[in-house]
Each structure stands twice: as structure tokens, then as C-alpha cells.
Subunit: 349 residues, 2 copies
């Protein structure tokens, strides 16, 4: 019997123009366009998928732990398997085994790389021949920002206007080869699971922040400016937008009621250190940005990585600093890299 | 020779609807109306003023230290002396000696009580018979929020529409006798001088925050709702607005570029503790609010003061907790309380 199995790897992306808030909760359609850089495989998720008649039900393992598919958030993310299964006309259950090279739910966007790898592996296992744009529409419905991890380089998630979401997809603005020296210096200040998950947090913001509408307009105009900065390789212009976007998103989080905080005193010290670094260099050489967590992503060029790391040395509370380059998007891996024991229909131990 | 001297006391106010941003920098006209509670004399400033031909120049002492009148910020605040002197047709120099019962520039609004006491004492020393509303217009030009300290109780600073500022003054919404059990439980987490002074900080916000315009509209509508809540003594309604106003102001501070932070990790813990307290009580019994500093003001009714203090005990980093009641506005003090040695024309030692 031919096995329907595949293994894929995908990486997180770090948003330069932020996504925070859905205009459609079910289809995951955003209020504004967003732009990110896909990271290289120094941070990644590997996901193996196997469809088989011998499976009694769907099973999903992350980092060795079986996930509860009755859990709403997990079910929504796993929903991409159902979408692709229907597209393939397949009626078999799936075994999914996934492993992250970084802490889950610590603001390091494991949901993005996880969902992107899951969608990519599923489509291969089911023999679906889909373009990256189509895959991004499926991934979007599992975890919004994961659609941007379906491409390498710098990627835009178009807001779209249609109610069915068919015009809300990811597209590449620049390939990783156009700006290969862009890096993300990641300062880990906490590996705790975040208290407020993005999904519920952003819903609360949409419902309660008086500033939210102004934020979505600002983000949409920042996305337009960002495209220009990327196309002209204007690092300083891009960096300014990156920092303002991060601050603006965290501002509407604070304006949510009750307020949502992801930044802590170490995050703020890092922000001050980067402003100081740019001041002392006499030009903008680095930009901070924070997703839904206190860990800082410092976007810079490879030539300034050492200066950024030096600036971070003064900050208290940083547990680890790691650098990721700009990445090339999801890839399939050979069967030898599979995380599934196909005989036992279980994760490899 | 008759001495033109007087001593007055005034207290800070804590804003329920926040003032952050001027539409006219020179006249100090705000973008939105604001509302505050004047505190009682458990926190206060005492200011003595003496006008004399024998003085060679203006001199200004705060907490025993002579102030540099060439300093722009100090000169602007001291400008109220010039305004009142011109109104009185007086050509003499002034000696001003002022003392705060709390740390200067730590977010405890010493500029408000200081300027209110200065204006009140000057007007008495110069024999000017002015209504509190007229005095509030003078105080506003020294330090915006000080105009609200010219009255006791709950006080509104009307935004006004005129370019000359004559319709931008303070008026009382409720006297201290109408809601005598309102208290402000102040949690001091830092007595450091703040890094970004309000005056420059708010200018940066007006210039750079993409969310600022939405904030001023929100504040103006909150001011209207607040008046209703105060008139009906609806504590829960008032408390909700107080917390959202604080969060909204600190959100536009964070959206300023470079960002302005006054809240620290202790402030955030206090906010969480108050939300938890309200949750456990099954109704809103307390509201947090923060001015331009990390120190928390918890607005509650006297009957819930103990519960608030208990909730604060769990928070790390609180140095001191003190309670101030609702106050009755500026008062003159007898000559025996003067801080000036009229013979030596110097501060009493």
C-alpha cells in the first residue's frame, strides 16, 4: 500500500508591519495588510504528516506531547488538515508529528512556522499540486500570520476586500537573495508561555480599543511605505517603520480593556538601547520589534550585528541572544528525516 | 512700609480624564477637556510670596534650593508672577519660597500644586480680587493641569475653543462635600525624577503619534460621560472611565516616537491586582490611574481602602502606600506660617 506521507520544514516570520485584529474570525481575515521577513532554518518547525486508513482518528503531537484536538485553539489550527483533505477528496485520518527548535508560545511565532510546515507537508502527502499563494490561503485559516511563512524573503499578507477571503493571501515583495544580509538578532528575555494568547487578545482589542481604527489606517499606510523602502533597499526608512509599527501595535494592546501587556522592563531597556545605538552611530542601523511577547527582535544588517550584540550587553534580564538570517521558505525533507514511525503509526521515539 | 506678602497652600490633583497635549504651546491650551479630583492637604505645597522694592531681582526657592530662572521650564512656570504683577500694575521684584510635602517631578503632580499655590499667594500678596475661574486661567499658563487645583472637589478643565484661551478654564463639577468618601490610595514605586518631562513629552506625542487624534476625541467623550457619572455618584461608571483614560493616555505615549514610558513592571502588576480585586468583589470597587510616572493612584471609596491596601500587598516594588482624601482647594495661611524671613528677604532657615 502506497503511503501518503511527507515531511516539511518551515520557519517563523518576524513582522515589520504588524497583524493584530481580524475582520472575520472564522476565515481569519485581517483589518490591515502586514509585512514580514521569513527567518532562515536556525529557527524552524519540522512537521511529518501521514494519512492512513489504519488510523482510528486524527492525532497531533508537538514536541513529543499529544495535543487535545477538542481544544478550540488546537482544533482551529488543525483545521487546515481538514481543508486540504477535502480538496484531495481523501477520507483518511491523519497522524501529525511536529517539532519546534524554539519555545512554543513565547512570542517566537511557533504557530506561524508550525502551521506553514503542516500545510506544506499535508499538501505534499496528499499529492496536491498547489501554488504557494493557494497554500497561503489555506495556512491563513489555521493561523493568520502563518500565511506569510509560505514564502521566503520579505512577504506581504494582503488585507483583501472580499468576504470569502480569496483575495487575502501572501505574496513575496523581495526574495531572500535580494537582501541577503538582513538579520534578526533575537534577545530572549522570557521563555514563559504567554498569559494572553494572540487569538483572544486581538479580539479584545478590536472590541474595546478606542484607538484601533486609527491603528489599522496607520498600518495600511505603513505597508505601502514599507514596500517602497524594501524595493529601494532603504534600510533606515524600513527601520523607522518597523519600530513605529511595533510601538503602535503595543499601544493598542495597552488601550485594550482590560489592558494587554507583552512588553516588560527588559523589553523597554532594549528599545532604549537601540535608540541610543542609532544615536551614537549617527544613522539608523537597527530597529527593534516585538510580537505578542517580551522577546526583542532587532533587525539589522550583518555588518552591524556585532554592534547590536554589544548594545544588548548592557541590558538586564536578557537570557540568550541568537541571530537568524533571512530565509527561503518551506521545504520538503527526505523520508529519512520523518518524525513518524510508519510501522507503529506513532512518533519516532 | 506695608509689606506685600502672603502664604498659601494648594494640593495636587489626580486626573480622571487625562490632559496630554497642547493645541497652543504659549497659552497652554489643551486638545481635550480633562477632569480631576483635588487631593486634601495630606499632600500639599506651601508657597510664600513677597514683593518688595528692596529685592534686586526675582528669586525662587523650592524645597530649600534656589531655582534657575533662566531655565526655560522654570521661567514658564514663574511666568504667572509676571502676569499677576502686570494685572496689579506692580513693578517690584518677587521672592517666592515653596515647599512640597512629596517628591518633586515623580509623577505626583508637584507642578500643579506648586503653580496653584504660587498663583493664589501672589494674587493675595498683590491685593488682587479675582475669582477662582480667573485665577485658573492664570495658573493654566504656568502649568496646564494646575488650573484644576484652583478648586476643591471634582474639577473640569474646559478645553475651550477661543484662540486667546479665555474660555479654557477650570470649573467645579462637584464639591468635596458631595462625595466626601472618595479617596486616592497612592502606591509609590519610584521617587526618581522622571526622565521625560511632561511638557516636552506631550509635544512629542502631538507631533508623532498616529493615534493622537483618536485619543483626543475619546477623551472629550469620556469627559462628558464622567460628568454624568459624577453627578449621579455612579462609582463603577466613573471607575471604568478612569482606568480606560489612564491606559489610553499611556498608549499614545508608547505610540510617540521615540516612545515614552512611564509605567514599569510594578505599575503593570498593580493594574492586574486591581482588575483581580474588582473581579473577586463581583463589582468595580477601585480604579487605577497613572500620571506621567510609574506611581499608582487607586481611586476608591473609604469603605474599600483596606481591601485596596490588601490587594497592593502582593505587588513587588511598592516602596510606600499613602492615602489622600478629596480636598477643598487652595487656602491662605497666617503670617506665622510664612516661609520667608521678611527682615533678611530670604527663606527662613
Amino acid at each position: 500500500m502506497e503511503q501518503k506521507a511527507a515531511t516539511a520544514t518551515a520557519s517563523p516570520n518576524i513582522a515589520f508591519v504588524k497583524y493584530w485584529g481580524k475582520r472575520d474570525e472564522r476565515l481569519i481575515l485581517p483589518y490591515n495588510s502586514s509585512i514580514s521577513m521569513t527567518l532562515d532554518d536556525s529557527l524552524n518547525t519540522v512537521t511529518s504528516v501521514l494519512f492512513s486508513k489504519e488510523l482510528q482518528n486524527d492525532r497531533f503531537f508537538i514536541n513529543g506531547e499529544e495535543q487535545e484536538l477538542a481544544d478550540k485553539e488546537t482544533a482551529e489550527r488543525f483545521g487546515v488538515v481538514g481543508i486540504l483533505r477535502r480538496m484531495a477528496g481523501n477520507g483518511e485520518h491523519a497522524l501529525v508529528v511536529s517539532r519546534n527548535s524554539f519555545p512554543t508560545a513565547s512570542g517566537l511565532a511557533s504557530s506561524a512556522s508550525g502551521t506553514a510546515a503542516l500545510v506544506f507537508a499535508c499538501s505534499k502527502a496528499l499529492g496536491l499540486e498547489m501554488k504557494a499563494r493557494e497554500l497561503s490561503i489555506v495556512a491563513r485559516q489555521g493561523s493568520g500570520s502563518s500565511c506569510r511563512s509560505m514564502f521566503g524573503g520579505i512577504v506581504m499578507w494582503k488585507r483583501g476586500r472580499k468576504e470569502d477571503g480569496t483575495d487575502s493571501y501572501a505574496r513575496r515583495i523581495a526574495s531572500e537573495r535580494q537582501w541577503p544580509d538582513l538579520v534578526d538578532v533575537i534577545a530572549i528575555v522570557s521563555t514563559e508561555r504567554k498569559r494572553v494568547l494572540s487569538r483572544s487578545g486581538m479580539r479584545q482589542t478590536v472590541e474595546s480599543s478606542a484607538l484601533y481604527k486609527a491603528r489599522t489606517k496607520f498600518a495600511e499606510s505603513n505597508a505601502k511605505e514599507m514596500i517602497k523602502a524594501v524595493k529601494t533597499k532603504d534600510f533606515a526608512g524600513m527601520a523607522g517603520i518597523i519600530m513605529r509599527e511595533s510601538n503602535d501595535m503595543h499601544a493598542v494592546m495597552l488601550d485594550t480593556f482590560p489592558p494587554i501587556f507583552y512588553l516588560n522592563d527588559s523589553s523597554k531597556e532594549i528599545m532604549a538601547a537601540i535608540h541610543e545605538l542609532n544615536g551614537s552611530m549617527g544613522k539608523i542601523v537597527a530597529a527593534y520589534t516585538f510580537d505578542a511577547g517580551p522577546n526583542a527582535h532587532i533587525i539589522t544588517l550583518r555588518e552591524n550585528e556585532a554592534a547590536v550584540r554589544e548594545a544588548l550587553r548592557k541590558v538586564q534580564g536578557i537570557k540568550e541572544v541568537k541571530t537568524a538570517g533571512i530565509g527561503s521558505g518551506p521545504k520538503t525533507l527526505p523520508e529519512s528525516d520523518s518524525l513518524i514511525d510508519a510501522g507503529r503509526l506513532m512518533p519516532k521515539s
